[in-house]
Symmetry: C2
Subunit: 591 residues, 2 copies
């Protein structure tokens, strides 16, 4: 059976040494002193290893069941959810005014990583609730906030997000769910929504559905979409639960993975809904939550890779098979552990350098979100809006690939369900799809974010890298990290340049390269992170840090990333520079 | 529900136009005239689409069950297996002396592709039987051949391959199953084998297990391994079935996929075994079958990608979502089909150019095996022994990746089991693992095949590409294909050169790059195939072939491969040239 241990030291390294959280100027970061973050990570890690991880297997094998309209989560989920609530984890980074603990989003992100690694399907119940909390917190009326937020912060009630319909996924403008205005100011919501995670379950007394729908007579397409609060039970004025609302679960889907989370078809039959935010501005309301939601999914990508890596590493250190070609390492045993074999190491280091790089990337983006929210830092907001599609697309694609690689370390045992590696792979697969499939992330990046505000944000990012390289240009010990970063960033700039020169006359010259651009940029971001981590490690070693092997391992892993991962940028650039023709020439009928 | 249609025209294109089978000098190829191969493919395709494919879903959802020592295959499997037998498909390329039809292996490979695409788990029952047939055909005594071959050719009995033990997978030298010589010349086989595909089932009257075991007192390690025939029921002298042998199924494994095939733990408890081939030469006997077995698994890689592609293409042409950015394509509908979007096309063309290239590569290797067997062509045998690890490793890695990409086209629906794309992905995953995990293929390629016979075979391969490029150097219409091939093959030669220069002083300089070398070489092989296919298409167009769109599509797909896939070679070379250090520096304890 697989195990999970929160990588507390690596997490602290990013929080305290790379991002210097405790000395940051962001309001609230003064609470993130090293002792506090260490204690929080330790407690979260304990809950993750001891409570959530042991339920991961039953979540997969038993999953959720629907009987007579009632969805049951697997045995043990309810108890674990209570422990999560009692520990105050559900409101860690929520507004104290509504019962939250007010910690920075960065702290919530680190804790979230441990929970997702331990049990991704389970953690979605609170993750979606957090999303509903954010939407109501930003767009709700005072009364709506008072009514819903305390219960969402505590997870006494959970939340959902209802966007997709059978014929309307990426193209939400085609949605048909309608919201008829009623005399009392409410709306009657009618329609069918699909793929609703945590749409129905037995973990909470009430479920607060956020539903996109069209008010008849409104504008066509996405400009006529509004957002509604549709509680499973109507909330009385005194806060008690009233009548059952006209929303019901149609079925739960049989999925490839995340069986512990109920993915529901939800039927709305004249259900009472309350407008959230302005009429016809539903998409805008959704967008304000999108950065956090997509960061959360990108995190799922590397968090699954992390737990898969931990177990693959255990296996590689235990499994005896063959001998080190350069000399026996385990003379008393019948064979050497397979970690002696170069290709097993190559595989493990691909995983390790990816997950650690992605952790730094994700925490950095969470930090930028804090800057944007708590300091009104417009530059941080601009950069993070550019990074989010990269984080979501790159970290979930590579996270899945990394999880598959971890499974591969097990040989035949990796394919057998009881070893747990298959579940990691099947669970990780969804992150490439939901919250905007990765092709849509690439489109968002190249079709929208690159040119946003006149291209200001991508210019700022290039400038950031240039400045970083310049600052370290005299530091000969850093050359082995700075030079590859510089070279990779030149590839990225050349790609952006190609889009600028050729996208005007034919936008397909840019769009045909969008996916490659997303990956190219992902590599540059991780290279920047590895350069920063390497510098931090060098400084620590220079100042006589006691744990030399920790920092030397960081340097070795940084070198691996530069030597073995970063060469991908030239391949992506070559693909991009081949332009639209190879992709667009063939008639659809001739595929 | 997914569908499958055998790509008859593409198959014929390779057989008749690219490989010119009907005019080949290989004995038996005279039976492969265009009409005959077309008729065979049509009939096989019909069986695949109408009988095997409709059983693919139940194979997955119901799978095999074990009760009281009896394994039941899913409903419908037995009938389908009878149809396969009645049609003579199981003995298509088997020796006529034992009831086979004597067709070339190439023909069997094309037919096998259709069956594997339609139902991979089902086809394994006959695939393993074919392996047992080959082993006994090559190594059996006359009496063994007479006893077993006719029944294996007809699939009245099926076969299995028993190698792995719980503690001995790749490292077979550690196996413990023992074979005690008995006074009557038989052996008593005792031990446990795991991961035995088709180890027990209800499709045949008898199951002929080929079992690797050690005769006590023999040499240590792999040099003391012998191969035994262990029938489930002892065969009487008159050919009738006698006593139940001491072999039983311990359990069937819960796997990620291929649920329609029973993967068994087999317990041997003093079972009667008959030595096959020479004592202590079991590994050599296994090796003679390895080329075909590994080709068969490589084929599974692209055959799953093929069926996944067919369905992804249907979906992309049907699903309406968004609009073509350069102008509406479906003005009467609410949106355009998603195949208008550049990134969806990029995804589909990655799949299409891979599967068609791999088909050509696989058929070419099958043709080389025919040359080696039917013409005793030593050069063909040398080349194919070099190609096999590439075919197995590259086509299964890329085949899985391609299947995942096909699943991605479906968005959220791809994750829901009822759409069938998840099964393709889960089934395809095994091909990267069994029959030698892909890391072992890379080791075989770089540690063994490159230097085999003084490096003669890899030199011959380089010479083949050089000659090809030279032959077409004056042909300006071919330049767009020959130039990228030449450049990619230079990368491959540079990588081989790097291994030669640096592998002597430290073998890890080669082994740390083995996986990248396997992929680099895979790309060069597919580029060679695409160049050959492009030339064939150009010739057909020049000679006034009527189906211009078929040949123009081949040219467009060849261009895509050169522009969008081949740039990977430089990335692999850069990774290789970083040598052993990035991979070997870190102490195992510090991972």
């Amino acid at each position: 059976m697989p195990r999970y241990t929160a990588p507390a030291k690596d997490m602290q390294f990013i929080l305290q040494e790379v991002l210097s959280a405790s000395t940051s100027d962001v309001p609230g970061y003064d609470e993130m002193d090293a002792d506090t973050t260490a204690a929080i990570i330790e407690e979260a890690g304990k809950l993750a290893s001891e409570v959530l991880q042991p339920l991961n297997e039953i979540g997969d094998t038993v999953g959720c069941t629907l009987e007579n309209g009632v969805v049951r989560t697997p045995e043990g989920f309810k108890d674990a959810f209570e422990q999560l609530k009692e520990g105050g984890w559900t409101g860690l980074d929520c507004d104290p005014e509504y019962g939250g603990q007010g910690m920075p989003y960065l702290m919530g992100t680190a804790v979230g990583e441990a929970f997702v690694s331990a049990n991704m399907a389970f953690n979605m119940y609170q993750g979606l609730t957090h999303g509903a909390y954010s939407a109501i917190h930003v767009h709700g009326t005072e009364q709506q906030k008072q009514t819903y937020l305390p219960k969402l912060v505590s997870c006494d009630w959970t939340g959902t997000m209802n966007l997709t319909e059978p014929h309307a996924g990426t193209d939400l403008g085609m949605m048909r769910t309608k919201a008829e205005p009623q005399e009392d100011g409410t709306y009657a919501i009618t329609g069918q929504k699909i793929f609703i995670s945590a749409g129905e379950h037995d973990l909470a007394d009430n479920i607060i559905h956020l539903v996109l729908a069209k008010i008849p007579g409104g504008p066509e397409g996405v400009k006529g979409i509004s957002l509604f609060i549709v509680p499973k039970f109507i909330v009385n004025e005194d806060g008690s639960l009233g009548a059952r609302n006209g929303v019901s679960v149609g079925k739960i889907e049989e999925k490839m993975g995340i069986h512990g989370n109920s993915t529901c078809v939800m039927n709305y039959d004249g259900a009472t809904g309350y407008l959230l935010g302005d009429a016809n501005k539903g998409m805008r309301a959704m967008f304000t939550m999108m950065n956090e939601a997509r960061l959360g999914v990108g995190l799922q990508g590397y968090a699954q890779a992390e737990v898969a890596y931990q177990n693959a590493l255990d296996y590689a250190q235990d499994r005896l098979q063959g001998r080190d070609i350069t000399g026996v390492k385990n003379p008393d045993g019948p064979a050497d552990p397979i970690i002696v074999h170069p290709d097993v190491r190559r595989n493990l280091l691909d995983q390790k350098s990816f997950t650690e790089g992605s952790r730094a990337f994700t925490y950095w983006c969470a930090h930028l979100i804090d800057r944007s929210h708590r300091l009104d830092d417009a530059e941080a907001e601009g950069i993070v809006s550019l990074m989010i599609p990269v984080l979501k697309g790159f970290c979930t694609d590579k996270g899945f690939e990394s999880t598959i690689n971890a499974q591969q370390v097990y040989g035949g045992h990796g394919y057998i369900e009881e070893w747990g590696m298959s579940q990691f792979a099947r669970d990780a697969r969804i992150a490439m799809i939901y919250e905007g499939a990765n092709g849509v992330q690439a489109l968002d990046l190249v079709g929208r974010k690159l040119s946003q505000d006149g291209g200001k944000h991508v210019m700022a990012f290039f400038e950031m890298i240039k400045t970083y390289c310049k600052e370290h240009s005299e530091d000969s010990a850093m050359a082995e990290f700075v030079e590859p970063l510089k070279s990779a960033s030149k590839d990225l700039q050349a790609a952006a340049q190609y889009f600028m020169m050729n996208g005007m006359k034919n936008p397909n010259n840019a769009l045909a390269g969008s996916y490659d651009f997303m990956h190219l940029m992902g590599h540059v971001c991780l290279a920047l992170m590895w350069a920063r981590m390497a510098k931090t490690a060098q400084d620590a070693l220079a100042s006589g840090a006691s744990d030399t092997s920790f920092y030397e391992t960081k340097l070795a892993t940084a070198r691996y990333y530069m030597a073995r991962q970063l060469p991908a940028t030239k391949m992506h650039l070559a693909r991009i520079e081949s332009g639209a023709d190879p992709v667009m020439t063939l008639e659809a009928a001739n595929f």
